[in-house]
């Protein structure tokens, strides 16, 4: 045992003596020593002297085997010391034990001597308590009888008083009826109720009947009071409360009153409808604003006042009916806003809109006073938000409609004189519609913003956002509309228009040009102005966060319109050239060019060709500005000299080609290469008359060249082409009105037509041109004839 304890202590490196003692003692007194933990596995080591499984013989053997003499000696000394140590510990332990035992015996002795005197004291205490108990019992019994008697007397007195009250009740009630003190009457009656319930059929029959009769009168009176509008609200409310106390079915009354209220609400709405109608009918803008303010002050306001009063009364009368009332009031507001929305659908000026809003707001405020729980301002704010948003949206829709109307008006005007300027008019009208319309719109919205109406003040930030957003969306929509109108988006619409006849078709093609120019206008003029205006009066919205800063991004709009202007212009050019292409395709597929007969006159298609070009000219002139001539002049000065030379060379070459066909063949290709300035052909189109016109002419002539290249000609076929082109050239020379333009115009025209002839000669078996005199003569004949026709 001791040994085991020692092993435990061996775990602690610093073997302090006192501690060891304490441990030894505690282990001795530990009752569970039998179940002491098993020695851990490492004690199974043979070296572990302290383990129970220690085998001394084996240990000795191992020790002797393992250690040398010196080691053994040292081990011996160590062991001897250890043994001595253990002996001392054991001695001390025994001594300590003995000491403790002695002190325990002393304590027991002392306790015994102290307990001896206690018993006598306790017995004395018990006696005293017993005597107190008996005395208190005596007092109790002597008082009991008297107390019982008093209680009985008291009960009888109460009962008598009640009986007296009940017998008096009918008289008292009638007195109350006379003095209209219904409250007291009800109080009395309800007080007597339990007794009537208990004894009503026996002892107090008469009394009960009499008082019930009185109560019926009271109920009647109260009901009358409740429904009479002349009574003060207080009185009515009291009446209601009393009725309720009398167990009268108040709910039905409440329902009745509510019905009445609803009815009055209906009347109110009817009146408002009438007002709105009057409003819509009065188209005079000066009166419109006033109408709303004058009429409500007479009829509408009074009725709303009445309604508010009624609600107030109702609320007082039936304090627990708020939810119904709230519903009612909200209904009123909703109906109001619905009405406005109806009006908004059919285009309404902002003054009118404002007027309507104002009316609603005053109503709302009135009702809010009466029924603040309904939170009507907040409610109407929400409803108003929707309405104002719709208003803003619809205004933009109308603007869009206006603009497209302005554009489409062109189609409607059928007379010839108007057609000359139709496109110009359309452009001007639509320009005005865009700018003026937007400005008016902003002005209208300004009014909304500047108004000090509570509703609008709260919505201000939203309105700013909506307006900005609205413009953004509006311009996007406008862009879409443009593309749609131009027929670019919907190819099927084009077919429709084609069937509408020549005039409509012509105008529609022109519309693409108008739209292009309008887009430029929007990009360069309208958008900056609108964004300026917005910045001035519609800044600081930001009720919501926008990732890209402002809701109205004029830069984006400009970009959209810049690109769509380009698209539209190209579309216009495309449509024009496409028409010419169709013309040319027909011209080139029909005849057998290899077996062409000698040219007698300029072919009919040239007339159509020229007609197309004239149409372009007229449209372009109406819409686009005159370009800067000098710029063209300078850039083309080189080309123009080339072109005049090219003519000379061409004629020269043609005359020679009869004799020197082989050499001319080479020369011809080289010449063609010399004058091929393809950079010049496909430059960027500008928004000027010249640029667009020349582009179209160039593209058409290029198409002509391509068609020629696909065919093979005999000599006559070639000559026919030569004649047609020659006529085109002559006509084009005559057509030029601006002196300055001749040079640059001719350059393009001549060069391109030269290319056509080159292409034709390349595709000809026998490219012998017509003799110049014959050519001239045929051209002159044609010219004369066309002049005659135009007369």
């Amino acid at each position: 045992m001791v040994e085991r304890e020692k092993t435990r202590n061996d775990d602690v490196p610093l073997d302090d003596k006192a501690k060891r003692m304490r441990d030894l003692l505690s282990s001795f007194y530990n009752p569970d020593h039998s179940s002491a933990p098993k020695p851990p596995s490492d004690y199974e080591n043979l070296d572990a002297i302290n383990s129970t499984s220690f085998d001394p013989d084996h240990y000795m053997n191992v020790l002797v085997q393992k250690s040398n003499l010196e080691g053994l000696l040292r081990r011996h000394v160590e062991m001897a010391a250890e043994i001595k140590n253990l002996d001392t510990d054991l001695q001390m332990l025994v001594y300590e034990n003995y000491n403790k035992f002695i002190s325990a015996t002393d304590a027991i002795k002392w306790m015994k001597s102290n307990i001896v005197g206690m018993q006598a004291n306790m017995e004395q205490l018990l006696d005293k308590i017993m005597s107190v108990q008996s005395r208190s019992d005596g007092v109790n019994t002597s008082l009991f009888e008297k107390r019982e008697h008093i209680e009985k007397l008291h009960r009888t007195r109460n009962l008598l008083r009640k009986v007296q009250f009940i017998y008096d009740l009918p008289a008292r009630l009638s007195k109350c009826i006379k003095s209209e003190a219904y409250a007291d009457a009800v109080k009395f009656y309800t007080g007597a109720m339990p007794i009537f319930k208990a004894y009503g059929d026996s002892s107090f029959q008469d009394c009960k009947r009499a008082s019930e009769e009185a109560i019926v009168i009271i109920v009647k009176n109260l009901q009358a009071k409740l429904f009479s509008d002349s009574e003060s609200i207080q009185a009515r409310a009291e009446a209601a409360v009393l009725l309720k106390q009398l167990d009268f079915p108040v709910d039905s009354l409440q329902a009745k009153l509510l019905e009445k209220l609803e009815q009055s609400l209906g009347d109110l709405q009817l009146k408002t409808v009438r007002i709105e109608n009057i409003l819509l009918e009065s188209n005079d803008p000066s009166k419109q604003g006033k109408a709303f303010e004058s009429i409500p002050s007479t009829g509408h306001e009074v009725s709303v006042h009445g309604f508010a009063e009624a609600i107030r009364a109702y609320r007082v009368i039936f304090p627990d009916s708020e939810s119904q009332l709230i519903k009612l009031a909200q209904n009123l507001v909703i109906k109001h806003f619905e009405m406005i929305e109806q009006c908004v659908k059919s285009r309404i000026s902002s003054a009118n809109f404002l007027g309507a809003l104002r009316t609603i707001w005053t109503d709302v405020l009135l009702m809010d006073e009466v029924l603040s729980e309904a939170a009507l301002p907040d409610f109407s704010l929400e409803a108003g938000q929707v309405t104002v948003k719709k208003y803003v949206a619809s205004t933009f829709t109308y603007l869009l409609q206006d603009i497209s109307d302005a554009l489409l008006k062109v189609k409607v005007s059928p007379n010839e004189a108007a057609e000359e300027h139709a496109l110009k008019l359309a452009l001007e009208a639509s320009k005005k519609a865009v700018l003026q319309g937007s400005m008016d719109l902003l002005l209208d919205f300004r009014q909304l913003l500047d108004d000090d109406l509570g509703l609008l003040v709260k919505l201000r930030e939203f309105i700013v956002d909506w307006v900005q957003e609205g413009f953004q969306d509006f311009f996007r929509a406008l862009d879409d509309r443009f593309l749609l109108l131009s027929g670019r988006k919907n190819p099927s619409s084009q077919d429709q228009v084609l069937s509408e006849g020549a005039l409509g078709e012509k105008v529609l093609v022109g519309i693409a040009l108008v739209l292009a120019q309008l887009s430029v206008f929007i990009e360069q003029t309208a958008t900056p102005r609108i964004s300026e205006e917005i910045a001035a009066s519609f800044s600081g919205g930001g009720a919501r966060d926008y990732e890209n800063g402002h809701a109205f991004a004029s830069g984006e709009i400009c970009q959209i319109f810049r690109s769509s202007a380009e698209k539209l212009l190209h579309h216009y050019i495309n449509m024009r050239t496409q028409r010419v292409s169709t013309l040319l395709r027909k011209r080139f597929t029909t005849p057998n060019w290899v077996k062409h007969k000698e040219p007698r006159e300029v072919h009919m298609f040239v007339d159509l060709f020229v007609q197309e070009l004239r149409a372009v000219q007229s449209e372009v002139k109406q819409i686009l500005p005159v370009g800067l001539m000098r710029k063209h002049h300078r850039s083309d000065s080189n080309g123009s000299t080339n072109s005049s030379r090219s003519n000379a060379l061409l004629d020269d070459r043609m005359s020679r080609s009869n004799t020197q066909k082989g050499r001319s063949q080479l020369l011809e290709t080289h010449l063609a290469k010399l004058f091929k300035q393809k950079v010049e052909i496909f430059t960027k189109v500008e928004y000027t008359q010249e640029s667009v016109e020349t582009t179209i002419v160039k593209l058409c002539l290029k198409s002509l060249q391509e068609f020629v290249r696909l065919k093979t000609f005999n000599r006559s076929g070639f000559q026919q082409i030569q004649l047609d082109v020659q006529f085109l050239r002559t006509i084009s020379r005559e057509n030029i009105e601006v002196e300055d333009a001749i040079d640059f115009y001719l350059t393009r025209y001549e060069l391109r037509s030269f290319h056509v002839i080159v292409a034709a000669s390349e595709r000809c078996f026998d490219p012998v041109p017509l003799e110049p005199p014959i050519l001239d003569k045929l051209v002159q004949v044609k010219l004369a004839r066309s002049k005659e026709q135009s007369k």
Partner: protein
């Protein structure tokens, strides 16, 4: 021309057509022919040198008439077809480049077969795109002929579609379905089943010059139109195009899809330019409406590059099948330009 990266090669006369020699797996070569009414026409076999910096003339053969269309056989590099015209009448033939032509002084083309069942103007000859089939199609103004070529017998047998009278102008053979052919005509693109020689579908669209199937994706057809640019169609939805590309300043003459890179389209126009487009039609684009596709167009410019190194209208255009980043173009003045689109591929 400044800033030109292309390798040039001059034909003696004007030319309209160029074709990739697909069967030549060792070299990147092209075959082209001249279009001259009054001179003796030539067929040029051009090979891109291994360094890729030079175009070498591998063969020069005289051809009896001016060549309007030329197509190389997909399985034999020595065989090709031409459509030719005397000016008054048209013909189509299959030719074989003679063996050992390098050693002969004046090599003559051997005529393998004449496709002479046509009456009107022949527009083009198409080889079956799948490669090993000895089928070809010739299209004239009114008819489609399906030919079975027998090289050993030097003969071709034809199967004719019944009189159509549609004014056909060209066509394309579906690489995904050897029985489907698209033809272009004046007012529409028509689709034919070669087994029945009957029309299966049409896209109503005027003035289509050229059509080409997407080599990678089924159902995708690209068309080039005179004035209105390039349209990409999903054949399952022939009502409206999946995508529109602006095309060229003047007519868009030819359009061709890259055989390897998805959405890479090349177009040639009469404004003397060749445009390289990147217009992938993803599965989403196919599913969504045109407007969304359009907005996607706005996001990234589909035009990767415009090669303007030409002096006349470009009619001939061909991708190389061997090195699919190389294409050859032929302008009317007889200039072949071979360009690499590699710099633009990396940008993708």
């Amino acid at each position: 021309m400044q800033g030109s990266s292309g390798i040039g090669y001059g034909l003696k006369y004007q030319g309209r057509c160029i074709s990739d020699v697909r069967a030549d797996t060792d070299h990147t070569s092209f075959i082209t022919g001249t279009l001259s009414l009054r001179e003796e026409n030539e067929v040029h076999l051009i090979r891109l040198s291994s360094s890729g910096t030079e175009l070498i003339c591998e063969g020069l053969f005289s051809h009896p008439n001016e060549i309007w269309d030329l197509a190389s056989c997909p399985f034999d590099q020595r065989i090709f077809s031409t459509v030719f015209s005397t000016g008054e009448s048209y013909g189509a033939a299959i030719w074989q480049i003679p063996e050992l032509y390098g050693q002969l002084n004046s090599p003559q083309l051997e005529r393998v077969a004449s496709l002479d069942a046509h009456v009107g103007k022949i527009n083009c000859v198409l080889w079956c795109p799948s490669g090993r089939h000895d089928k070809l199609i010739s299209i004239d103004d009114e008819n489609i002929f399906l030919w079975t070529l027998d090289c050993s017998k030097k003969a071709a047998q034809s199967k004719q579609s019944s009189g159509l009278l549609h004014y056909l102008s060209g066509g394309a053979w579906d690489p995904h379905d050897i029985n489907a052919v698209a033809t272009t005509c004046e007012s529409s693109v028509q689709f034919w089943d070669l087994r029945t020689m009957k029309k299966t579908n049409t896209i109503e669209r005027a003035h289509i010059r050229n059509a080409n199937y997407d080599m990678k994706k089924n159902h995708i057809l690209v068309t080039a139109e005179d004035e209105s640019g390039i349209h990409i169609w999903d054949l399952r939805k022939p009502k409206s195009p999946v995508r529109e590309l602006p095309g060229h300043t003047h007519w868009t003459w030819a359009v061709t899809c890259n055989p390897e890179y998805d959405g890479l389209i090349l177009s040639a126009g009469t404004d003397s330019t060749v445009n390289l487009w990147m217009a992938p039609t993803s599965a989403e684009d196919e599913a969504t409406s045109e407007s969304i596709a359009e907005s996607a167009t706005q996001q990234a410019d589909p035009l990767l590059n415009s090669y303007s190194d030409y002096e006349d209208s470009v009619y001939g255009l061909a991708w190389s099948n061997r090195e699919p980043w190389i294409f050859a173009s032929l302008s009317y003045d007889g200039r072949v330009v071979v360009e690499s689109v590699k710099p633009f591929l990396s940008r993708k």
